[in-house]
Subunit: 199 residues, 4 copies
Amino acid sequence: MVQTCQDCVMSNPPPLPTKDRLIRAAAELFRSRGYNGVGVSEVLSRAKAPKGSLYHHFPNGKSDLALAASTWASDGMLRLIAASFEPAECFDDGVVTLCHKLAKFFDSKDMWGGCPITSTLFEGPATEDFRAHARYLVDGWIAEVEHHARRLGVPANQAAATAEHLYMLVQGGWQLAKARQQSDVLRHLPAQLNTDRRQ
Amino acid sequence: MVQTCQDCVMSNPPPLPTKDRLIRAAAELFRSRGYNGVGVSEVLSRAKAPKGSLYHHFPNGKSDLALAASTWASDGMLRLIAASFEPAECFDDGVVTLCHKLAKFFDSKDMWGGCPITSTLFEGPATEDFRAHARYLVDGWIAEVEHHARRLGVPANQAAATAEHLYMLVQGGWQLAKARQQSDVLRHLPAQLNTDRRQ
Amino acid sequence: MVQTCQDCVMSNPPPLPTKDRLIRAAAELFRSRGYNGVGVSEVLSRAKAPKGSLYHHFPNGKSDLALAASTWASDGMLRLIAASFEPAECFDDGVVTLCHKLAKFFDSKDMWGGCPITSTLFEGPATEDFRAHARYLVDGWIAEVEHHARRLGVPANQAAATAEHLYMLVQGGWQLAKARQQSDVLRHLPAQLNTDRRQ
Amino acid sequence: MVQTCQDCVMSNPPPLPTKDRLIRAAAELFRSRGYNGVGVSEVLSRAKAPKGSLYHHFPNGKSDLALAASTWASDGMLRLIAASFEPAECFDDGVVTLCHKLAKFFDSKDMWGGCPITSTLFEGPATEDFRAHARYLVDGWIAEVEHHARRLGVPANQAAATAEHLYMLVQGGWQLAKARQQSDVLRHLPAQLNTDRRQ
DNA sequence: AATGAATGAGCTTTCATTCAT
DNA sequence: AATGAATGAAAGCTCATTCAT
């Protein structure tokens, strides 16, 4: 979900290796239009990579690429979560920051793209590889939020449920934001979540 | 999401017209594997419809079919919502019934399919047709829940937000249930939602 | 192995249906360069058929086409056998005629092509379909020769072995003719075979 | 056609050089599935050779490798012929031994592979290189048989024709054995051949 | 003599759609 | 309203080969 633009930092950055260019291009395209909505040739042309190189770096082709792309995108999401909660003084503040960052990201795209995990893995082939990887990445997101929840004083017996609740709100809220073409849905999520621990 | 089995009511039911068979087949396949994951030929063969008949009933082809299929599936969802809240004595009971019905439906499939609107419309072509129809159907679900919320005593100034909250929890919860291959996620949703109005 | 030229008989013959054009083109190309040596696109361009039509007429694609092409080619070979033995006064005369016809056919091509069954089926995928069809066609050739052998007075207890002997000589002789680029090998086959019944 | 197993003679044999491993792997694969049915990457992986090494040992790539592989396989065949005829007391005994050895070899494989020369050279590109090499190897086989025929008393004016006859029977018989999945065809070949010199 | 990344043409097949009847 | 043949663009993937090291 976060992207580093290697072209805008310095004038002549060293070009990324082919494999990394493929992963970044795939992550962005799969997030935007889904696993089945993107052809490998489009990934290749966006990555400026020749046709044969995909299968050199990803012997199983598109599915291998999707796994790598979702991992890379998930790492970006984990950094976004950390960047939201680390400077926060309480958990609720972190939630607000995270939701606002997500809303900003939503606005920066075409307002129709999806979540990098959902669009890439849930839509792909229903193989055990994909299911297991989806679960692993989803659990990673939730664990990261739970970690910050505990650290910021959420009672231990509520931290896990709160993290899951936030996950569901973000995923469901993202879809509602798409349906309404309105990122404010995401900005209002903290109000729904806070009620959890309201007495 | 709900299905009527025309084969189990009477021994020799009149077969459905071709158009309806196409809609039902498309709704089930799109829900299960997504708009881009299903080819029209598969829909035709599942519907036992001849090759050329698709474009007679749906002049714009696959996209028209997807719009009709999502409408039909959404009608089923509206009936499921009504069936959950109408006999309920309070809103929370209706939520519990709805979530349990959804969990049961989740278990009855391959635990990897999606929501009929999401899988069919959000994954499809990013045209205004699809966006508008997605919004229309999503708003219909939320309005139906809101209607029952008001009817069952939820304060007017909370009904809309509660209905939206439930929508997001169901969508996000469905995804978490998929990732964990565990329908109990859906059964636990009411606990998250009830806190809204808990004092 | 025999071909009917639909372009040289009359000035404006009705064009063959697409399916037949595909079969003829495939038979000729597979015979000449083998199953794996010919791409479907080459068959399509030779048959002047559009890309998608192959899978309309042959749902299993290249392999289905190969089975049909080998059947068609085998029918031509059966006609060649019949045309050689039917006017013959004795079996040996028929053998001489057949071998001379084959030698002439050999010379008419690039002297490097193979037998339509061998090149198409033995070289193809090692599936049971291909093996069974190869056996069926080979047995058909041998049975046809055996039939004429009996009819022309070869003792019943020798007819089958003689037909098999001729089959092996033709197949082995064709390969030797290819290796030496010399069709006379085929013309000399009768001398080898006749010894069977020479006292 | 014959193989030397470098793993069963001593416990820790020195591994063959890369070039020899490539030749052996190619010979076996080409024999089994034909020149066009085998990719160089499969040869490399079977030979446990690194990707780039093929073009060091065989500058012209696959075609060079095929020539070398067919030569190596042909040498094995020449040894098989010699081993069959050298201990024989008469030519017919040698033929029987040879055909039985071939039948045993046929049974030891998947009953669908071909002759190492035929599958490798006849199916390959129709270049003069391949044609000339095929002729050279085929003539070598026939000359070897003819040599033993003369040595074992076959009249000089029949030796060459007999050797050619045997060649054709073996090639044609091998194909019939494949079609019928029955190696006995090869064991019965001597009966067909012997008639040549029967008075 | 050896290596593995790179290369793009080519492979078989599926796609959604249109056509003539 | 209905049909099945026709269509060619595009799909994912493999190919034999070349390159820089």
